[in-house]
Symmetry: C2
DNA sequence: ACAAAACTGAACTGTTCAGTACAGTAGCGC
DNA sequence: GCGCTACTGTACTGAACAGTTCAGTTTTGT
């Protein structure tokens, strides 16, 4: 099924692919049960691997957990880059697209579960919080600020501090949706998402939109 | 030290005071170490009580935990009521006061720790999330919406949906401060708090303030 | 003052689980 | 085929911990 030197979604070949299987299985088990209740045996059997093998790759359960979160953070920060690629659209449409992307990232059940997991294990892994923030929300914020800066340059926005404006956009968008999704573990309806998006875009333009008298040429 | 029928901060007398001591100690230990890593022995010794006594009051570690969170939620919802008691002040000053109160509630390390704890244990105690949300954030939102409604009646604000406006205020105020505080477990500087407050009040008035031509009599 | 009720402290049970040891086996280069 | 390395499966160790029990002590009500 996999002829010569093909590169798959999962990186390198044979040797390290098993490691990826272990990390995948570990993520799943950690998400399902939390760190404390997850047993290495369960991870091993979910990965189709013996416990001994896990311990040849990872020094301890803690190290495995750190590796899992590390990888997820990396994956997340890559996904965030797409915010900057909504350049061609008209302002309000671009904002709508960005809002949808952000809501996807924020509300994806898997991502919510990872957030919960990280928060849950902060006492055990204190440095994890900073890592997670720097590689997730901080990058989103930076990308969005860049977008704002570009639109300011085009004369479509009037903004003193792009970072603050970007923060306002994200904050308005989140509202209490994220909080509820995190706490009540329930999916957010499409209607609620659309409402949040439209309100946010409207308010943002009202706040920061350049007056139409200096309209585009 | 405690003559005849005096009522203290801790409720009823002798019998039930020990229960309060247990709950207090349990809260402390849970906050310090998380539910999973907290041992009943540690709670017992922190409460200055034998483990057997704990098990006469609470059926299990889970029941004890539920009692702890229950009590904190109750205490929290009481504290939230103060938002409505900033009526006499001029609008922007009242908003500033409210912002300070909200930031206090949101950023108090103890409250952050409780939030972490609740989020962490959601898989084990699913109903807890709803309880917590309903008795905390939901009540704050309701109170703030009432405040907005009152100011609309006075002609100081122009707002279509007070609940939405209130949500915007809270969202803008939180920004990423709460997230960072939650994740990085670091205190937020007074400077950052003041900056968030001033920005939020400014933006809110810009968005929802009634035009000054219909000024107060 | 005295009996009943509540509490202590410490030992004990039973379970769960991280981490290890090891004997046997599959894969792979040569 | 030969030998080497990596993997499996299983069984084991040791520690941690929830929850119980109980003999002896303190507290409380009357």
């Amino acid at each position: 099924m996999n002829p010569a030197g093909e590169v798959e979604h999962e990186p390198r070949s044979g040797a390290a692919r098993k490691t990826q299987r272990i990390v995948n299985a570990a993520l799943q088990v950690f998400l399902d049960t939390g760190y404390g209740a997850a047993t290495v045996d369960a991870i091993a059997s979910a990965a189709g691997v013996s416990k001994a093998t896990i311990y040849t790759r990872f020094a301890s359960k803690e190290a495995l957990f750190a590796a899992v979160i590390e990888r997820e953070c990396l994956a997340c920060s890559k996904r965030m880059a797409v915010v900057e690629q909504a350049p061609a659209l008209e302002l309000s449409q671009a904002l709508r697209e960005i809002a949808d992307m952000l809501l996807d990232i924020i509300l994806l059940p898997r991502n919510l579960a990872i957030q919960r997991l990280v928060i849950a294990e902060l006492p055990r892994f204190p440095e994890l919080g900073r890592t997670f923030y720097d590689r997730g929300p901080a990058i989103t914020l930076k990308n969005l600020a860049n977008f704002v800066r570009a639109r300011v340059a085009r004369g479509e926005l009037r903004v003193a501090d792009p970072a603050v404006a970007a923060q306002h956009f994200i904050s308005l968008l989140r509202g209490d949706i994220q909080w509820r999704a995190l706490m009540e573990q329930m999916a957010v309806s499409d209607t609620a998402r659309r409402a949040a998006r439209e309100r946010t875009v409207g308010v943002f333009i009202q706040l920061y939109g350049a007056p139409p008298d200096v309209a585009r040429p």
